[in-house]
């Protein structure tokens, strides 16, 4: 008797599970599921791209990313500190130190390049990296000619960076400039004009990463360097389990408590999960035409983040 009832309950359960409507994505929170509108039926030729675990038309991703970062702009630093336990500052310091921006040696007579580097910091709205690079060039290499252009697609992040730049010695000098633009196409920046192109924790939000890499290749001088720091894949399985637990359970919760915005941080961890692995991304950099120095990437904290570099070859 009891076995039959058990069998029936199993049957009904399976049937019930089948009856559950298919969700367009899997995620831990269902808040967004309720809020998000189902993607509108679009023409066949419309291409889709990732937005976290969600598939959205390419044309929409840009505005969706914009919304996310507009909402996190003000609490950006507090949140970064809480999510990474402050480690992101070490990563950024290491990134800048390994690039060693600024020419320590005076320019010689027959050197074609002038003193100082022209650095383009993409998706660097809040100026985290830009100020570090300018500090390094000035204090370590005694180079007061190196200049940084901060480019960001999001005016709110740029406004945050401008606000912070007031407290730096570079405010209102020709060493620091702000530019609002899309990294996939930057017609205002001439070809072969940039020494160093950096993009730190930004490229995973781009709609078309390959297009951005191609654009980086265009604006860089021959011999110029593309350097990118981005969340990546953890190589240790045990550590990975801990890390995944942290990022999928704790980070959206911290986002909700501190910034009052669970959605944006849910997107953050999902977009990290969607970003290609170290090897795949290295392949994309090579595909854009860059030379890869050595292994091509450097893992930080067991692969949570990775620094990728590429050098534009001479003709």
């Amino acid at each position: 008797m009891s076995s039959r009832s058990l069998w029936r309950s199993l049957q009904t359960q399976t049937r019930r599970r089948l009856a559950v409507p298919e969700t367009p994505y899997r995620c831990f929170s269902c808040t967004r599921q309720a809020q998000a509108q189902p993607p509108k039926p679009t023409a066949d030729e419309e291409r889709f791209t990732h937005f976290g675990f969600q598939n959205v038309p390419e044309s929409q991703k840009e505005s969706m990313v914009k919304t996310v970062f507009s909402s996190v702009a003000s609490s950006y630093d507090v949140m970064n500190d809480m999510m990474s336990l402050g480690i992101h500052r070490l990563w950024k310091d290491h990134f800048v130190r390994s690039l060693n921006p600024g020419s320590a040696l005076p320019s010689r007579d027959h050197d074609t390049a002038g003193r100082g580097w022209n650095i383009l910091d993409i998706a660097g709205g809040t100026g985290d990296i830009a100020f570090r690079m300018l500090d390094h060039a000035t204090n370590i290499n005694h180079d007061a000619a190196t200049r940084v252009t901060i480019a960001d697609i999001n005016p709110d992040m740029l406004a945050e960076g401008k606000k912070r730049s007031i407290q730096t010695p570079y405010y209102n000098t020709n060493r620091l400039a702000f530019l609002e633009g899309n990294a996939q196409s930057m017609p205002s920046i001439p070809s072969n004009s940039v020494d160093l192109y950096t993009v730190v924790f930004g490229i995973r939000n781009f709609t078309d990463k390959q297009a951005a890499l191609n654009e980086a290749f265009r604006v860089l001088k021959p011999g110029g360097v593309f350097a990118c720091m981005e969340f990546s894949k953890v190589d240790n399985a045990l550590f990975n389990a801990v890390y995944k637990q942290w990022s999928f359970s704790a980070i959206p919760l911290i986002g909700q408590l501190v910034a009052g915005d669970r959605e944006s941080y849910q997107y953050l961890v999902e977009s990290i999960e969607q970003f290609p692995s170290q090897e795949e991304f290295r392949g994309m950099i090579q595909k854009a035409g860059f030379l890869i120095p050595g292994r091509g990437f450097e893992n930080l904290t067991g692969g949570i983040a990775a620094i990728h570099k590429g050098i534009k070859p001479l003709n």
Partner: protein, 301 residues
């Protein structure tokens, strides 16, 4: 002391051999050693246009194994499959060989690399091409000098003229030849030795030292295939490493003191080797005597 012109010629000649230390070998076995062909092209065809690179690159993103980043490791030694501890692309070689001209003045430093990059038409930032920084410059120096030593014997006929020399004499001559090459950068060499002795750099430094000892013994015509293969390489490596330190402090004309030091150390090494052989023979004789004695007493041995 500093002879820029000689540095220049040495570098140019050394390079062709540094990139292919066993250039004299037929090509056929080398192709086995390399993994799939298109992969190795990425690293060598850097002077071609980037578009051409694309083709090879896309084809190699699919296999899960990256190219030389994980080279096949051999558990045995083979003359036909020389292991290369590190390879450089064309751009890296250009920067490094230009940087060597600045070593006598700037040492094995990032500044030398930066100036080398500028000379080669690169930007200051292009030294990012060398992830190990100044240690890459040191490794390049070691590898190119090693190639130069090989070319001195194989192309210039170091031993072809003059009387027939024994293997031991040849080893001493090669050791001195190699040490004289370092004399050009004598004032900077202690710094380089310090960099090489940093923990993270020790494995590559040691593998380079082994490669040098291996080359010296091969060039001297040593054909041993027994346990002395190891002991000889260790002896040569030890004598070279010790003499390298002596050389940096040697102010005598023509490195006479270093030469005497090498001769003394090599004599010591031989003496130790002879003693060991004697002891082994003695023990072997005593052992066989004991066995014979036991058998004569009726033991079932």
């Amino acid at each position: 002391m500093i002879r820029p012109t000689s540095l220049l010629t040495l570098t140019r000649r050394g390079l062709s051999h540094a990139s292919s230390p066993r250039a004299a070998l037929p090509l056929a076995p080398r192709t086995h050693l390399r993994q799939p062909k298109p992969q190795s092209q990425i690293h060598t065809t850097t002077t071609t246009t980037p578009r051409q690179n694309n083709l090879t690159v896309t084809s190699r993103t699919t296999p899960s194994r990256p190219n030389r980043l994980s080279p096949t490791t051999r558990t045995y030694h083979s003359d036909h499959h020389p292991t290369q501890p590190h390879d450089y692309t064309n751009s890296q070689t250009t920067i490094l060989s230009a940087a060597l001209h600045h070593v006598p003045t700037h040492g094995f430093s990032r500044n030398a690399l930066t100036l080398g990059a500028r000379d080669a038409g690169f930007l200051d930032v292009s030294v990012q091409l060398l992830p190990r920084g100044e240690f890459d410059l040191i490794l390049f120096w070691l590898a190119s000098r090693r190639g130069l030593l090989r070319s001195k014997v194989e192309s210039d006929g170091l031993f072809s003229a003059g009387p027939v020399l024994s293997v031991d004499d040849k080893i001493q001559i090669l050791l001195m030849e190699r040490l004289r090459m370092n004399a050009e950068v004598k004032d900077q060499w202690q710094d380089a030795l310090a960099v090489m002795s940093l923990g993270e750099n020790i494995p590559l430094s040691l593998s380079e030292l082994h490669a040098l000892a291996d080359d010296i013994l091969n060039l001297a015509g040593d054909k041993s295939v027994d346990a002395s293969w190891y002991s000889k390489r260790m002896a040569v490596a030890a004598v070279y490493a010790a003499s390298d330190f002596v050389m940096t402090r040697d102010t005598s004309a023509g490195l006479r003191e270093t030469e005497e030091f090498v001769a003394r150390r090599w004599a010591d090494a031989r003496a130790v080797g002879d003693k060991l052989t004697g002891v082994r023979e003695c023990l072997g004789f005593m052992g066989s005597t004991a066995v014979g004695l036991g058998r004569s007493w009726g033991l079932k041995i």
